[in-house]
């Protein structure tokens, strides 16, 4: 009995200590109001050992800066405000110097020429406040592919800091209209998401309408008068080949890919009735023939 009483007393004392200590030591604050300001980020020109690589380093950093700026979620810090002149990307930066200019993230990179003529582009993303490296990658590519690498680095930074997938390494397909109103020429064009590298996919004879990208493959579907009749086409960007989707007596138009990209839905006009038509086999055949 006495033992039980002692144990109970000990337990109650321990409980009292456990419950009392945090209550007196901690304050709890709910934060419900913040801001939606763009994050200040610093992207110095990428380092390099030779002049050719230096030009690539400047261009890559410029594209990254423009991408992040255009997203609206980041605010670039002018290079003239930088205090530290980074000389080696493998040495941690002086974070205090970057905190002074209100940078929250810092991108450091370098470009080096490889013996086989390619270039290696590497970068590291630093969290200035926690003084930790968030991510870092390196790519080896041909020198003329630097812009694509800049987009991929932008995607990495964007995804790491916002939690959402980046969209910088994407392209936009659209209809380019030229000529007078009575003799309008409509051609299929494609460009990078920042407007760079535009080029035509079809010639002037094909009047193109309603182009759509596949959600899962490098395929485009569109309507064209190339054969004299309105027809739906499939264009494979990897092989630069196109083919008519189906051969119907009436006209086909308004094509769309299915959400999973496995088929194409078109509108088929026969005998005065417009019917929606799903063609998955033609798409599979087109993909198979192009592989």
């Amino acid at each position: 009995m006495r033992l039980i009483r002692t144990i109970l007393a000990a337990i109650s004392m321990a409980l009292a200590v456990c419950l009392a200590a945090p209550a007196s030591a901690q304050i709890h604050v709910d934060i419900n109001d913040g801001n939606l300001n763009p994050m200040p980020i610093a992207v110095p020109d990428f380092l390099s050992a030779n002049p050719n690589a230096a030009a690539v380093g400047r261009d890559v950093a410029g594209v990254i800066r423009a991408n992040l700026d255009r997203s609206g979620l980041f605010r670039q810090i002018e290079q003239g405000a930088f205090i530290e002149n980074i000389q080696d990307m493998n040495v941690p930066p002086r974070f205090a110097d970057w905190r002074v200019i209100s940078a929250q993230a810092l991108v450091v990179g370098q470009v080096s020429a490889l013996p086989d003529g390619r270039v290696r582009i590497e970068f590291r993303l630093w969290d200035v406040l926690s003084e930790q490296s968030l991510t870092g990658f390196q790519y080896a590519t041909t020198p003329d592919n630097w812009r694509r690498i800049a987009h991929r680095i932008s995607d990495q930074i964007y995804e790491q800091l916002t939690g959402e997938r980046g969209y910088f390494d994407t392209r936009i397909v659209f209809v380019s209209e030229t000529g007078p109103r009575t003799r309008r020429v409509k051609r299929l064009m494609i460009m990078d998401q920042d407007g760079a590298n535009p080029f035509f996919l079809t010639g002037p004879e094909a009047q193109v309408l309603t182009p759509r990208f596949s959600p899962s493959t490098q395929m485009i579907t569109y309507m064209s008068f190339e054969t004299g009749q309105p027809r739906v086409f499939l264009y494979n960007l990897e092989t630069n080949r196109r083919e008519v989707l189906g051969d119907f007596p009436g006209m086909t138009f308004a094509p769309r890919f299915t959400p999973d990209g496995s088929g194409v839905v078109v509108t088929l006009d026969m005998n005065g009735n417009s019917e929606i038509f799903l063609d998955g086999s033609a798409l599979a055949r087109a993909q198979a023939s192009h592989q």
């Binding site: 304050i27 604050v29 709910d30 934060i31 939690g163």
Partner: protein, 244 residues
């Protein structure tokens, strides 16, 4: 019957007169000790008085003025005569007021002297005050700390409103502060536990951590009300939640 009434009236009047007599005789006794008793009361109350928190730190002029006042004023009152003479050469009422004010001021100035309790024994002083705070005072100070924090954090926290389902992105960050209001060690996420495999939650957690670090140092030490109550803002946690 009538005589009884008269006797009663006389008795009542007499009682009232006696009270008057008592009222008049009371001040005759109290002023005799008035030079000593108020000083003792002030000493006791000044040591444990919480209101002293809002008094600014002593200025340079205070000790000098106190010294100037102490010499003439301390000598001026006559030596307390132990004789129970009914009419000692007591000071006039005006003199008595001045004497009391001077002694009160002297006591306050002594409390303000640098190097005395307030600046010397910061730790013991703090403990006394902490023990002296009532529940209501603690609650109001905590409310003030919350208000200060929310105002301070508004510029630092980027809300994850643009992420999918922002209502579920509730993050709690635990922290500790030094006396000067700067972070002690690294803040850490206590809730949710595993957020690395949930990209939006990871971003929300990193936003919260970034906000806590960016807002460093915190304004509590410079606040006139909560500044000296380090115990109240030494550690705590922030729960970041997007308002609906």
């Amino acid at each position: 019957m009538r005589a009884g009434v008269i006797i009663s009236v006389i008795g009542h009047v007499g009682a009232v007169m006696m009270t008057f007599l008592a009222w008049e005789t009371a001040p005759l006794v109290v002023p005799m000790q008035g030079t000593v008793v108020p000083i003792e009361i002030l000493e006791i109350s000044a040591e444990s008085n919480v209101r002293a928190l809002s008094i600014p730190e002593p200025e340079d002029l205070a000790p000098a003025a106190a010294e100037e006042e102490t010499t003439p004023e301390a000598v001026e009152p006559p030596a307390p005569s132990p004789t129970p003479a009914p009419r000692p050469p007591r000071p006039t009422p005006q003199q008595n007021d001045e004497l009391d004010l001077a002694s009160i001021a002297r006591m306050v100035d002594k409390q303000r002297e640098p190097g005395r309790e307030r600046t010397n024994g910061a730790t013991s002083d703090r403990n006394q005050r902490g023990a002296g705070l009532g529940t209501a005072e603690v609650a109001s100070m905590q409310d003030r700390i919350r208000a200060l924090t929310q105002a301070h954090m508004r510029r630092c926290w980027r809300m994850p409103s643009d992420l999918p389902d922002p209502e579920r992105l509730v993050v709690t960050v635990e922290w500790e502060l030094d006396r000067n209001g700067s972070l002690r060690g690294q803040p850490r996420v206590t809730s949710p536990r595993n957020y690395n495999f949930d990209p939006p939650m990871r971003t929300a957690a990193e936003n919260a951590l970034r906000a806590v670090r960016q807002c460093d140092p915190y304004p509590f030490p410079n606040d006139p009300i909560v500044g000296e109550h380090y115990d109240l803002w030494r550690s705590g946690d922030f729960t970041f939640r997007v308002s609906q």
